[in-house]
Symmetry: C2
């Protein structure tokens, strides 16, 4: 796209107001989702809670799917502003902390499950992009942590970091699901078991 004007065309006029409004909507939507689940989440219902019309949501987010993805992304971003993370923290410890936080915001976990399930179907590019990127990034991050821990002697050095990363993420997600369906399911016990299995003997 040649011939770009030296004055970028976007932030002209009341553009700033738009991004602020968009942020307002996202913040409010996160509260709504965290409280009551991701059920009853039509554009009209969300719009009513936020205080706009459903057409306004379409204006800012394009589609319901993109809105849901943005809500979850933003909630992760805000949740990520937690105490600075020790990079040598064990991957399982990291997931256990995450699971603990998630128990307080069940609606966001429901939203996450919905997004992942949607991503598996064809014809949902926004959800697919979100899930693919998230899993690939998480696997990479966790694999790096595994290597650090292996060097520090806290994780068995004979195990493949990539496989460990995928396994820890899968266990974390799957146990979260089982726990949401049955709070007697041994979520933390199973994560501790995995931690023990990975530990250097």
């Amino acid at each position: 796209m040649p011939d770009e004007s030296p004055n970028p065309p976007q932030p002209r006029g009341s553009y700033a107001k738009g991004v602020a409004r968009r942020q307002e909507i996202l913040d409010r939507a996160i509260e709504v989702f965290a409280q009551r689940g991701s059920d009853r989440t039509s554009m009209r219902a969300i719009a009513k809670e936020v205080g706009v019309t459903h057409a306004a949501l379409a204006h800012y987010f394009g589609s319901l799917e993109e809105l849901l993805v943005e809500v979850y992304r933003e909630s992760e971003r805000q949740g990520g502003a937690r105490p600075p993370v020790n990079p040598e923290e064990t991957p399982v410890e990291m997931m256990r902390r995450s699971a603990e936080v998630n128990r307080e915001v069940v609606g966001l976990v429901q939203l996450y499950s919905t997004l992942v399930a949607t991503a598996l179907e064809d014809g949902h590019p926004a959800a697919h992009e979100f899930a693919t990127t998230r899993f690939a990034g998480l696997r990479q991050d966790l694999a790096a942590r595994v290597r650090l821990n292996q060097q520090a002697g806290r994780i068995r050095a004979d195990l493949d970091p990539e496989a460990i990363a995928a396994l820890v993420i899968a266990a974390s997600d799957g146990l979260q699901t089982q726990w949401l369906l049955d709070s007697d399911a041994p979520q933390d016990a199973a994560l501790l078991l995995l931690e023990q299995l990975l530990s250097r003997p």
Copy 2:
């Protein structure tokens, strides 16, 4: 449930035809889901593929949710008619076989993910009942297998069978998801890793 009449009241009139028709619909629906994913799955679309109207589906299954649950249940039942299972088969081996089969019927795995995600939300009794029962039953079955394997010396005897069962199920589900999103994800490697971790040293 006392006082059952010797002549059960249900199969009166052309009831037998009804169950046959219902079975026909289920069989056809399973084919449809196995082929193309669980997307495009409105009652009207399914009805068209099956050759009836959407009102007929509602007559037999009550709601879309119940139809989806029944389709998956029936597909599991039919898939369960596979080679008799060695009860001492290791839990991870069992899940690896299952994963192998599932790769051929991606649409049914998509349907499963949708059902589980739906079950996490409020106000979906059929999906919730399905998922709760399935996980509880699977955990029980796998825990029993773990105990057998522990006695046979194939799984470390110092580990909690219930926690192992939950962990194996979670890993299996979660890795399936990651693999569907990215066929480079180390699904089998991670399951083999888990097998190795659980093995008696």
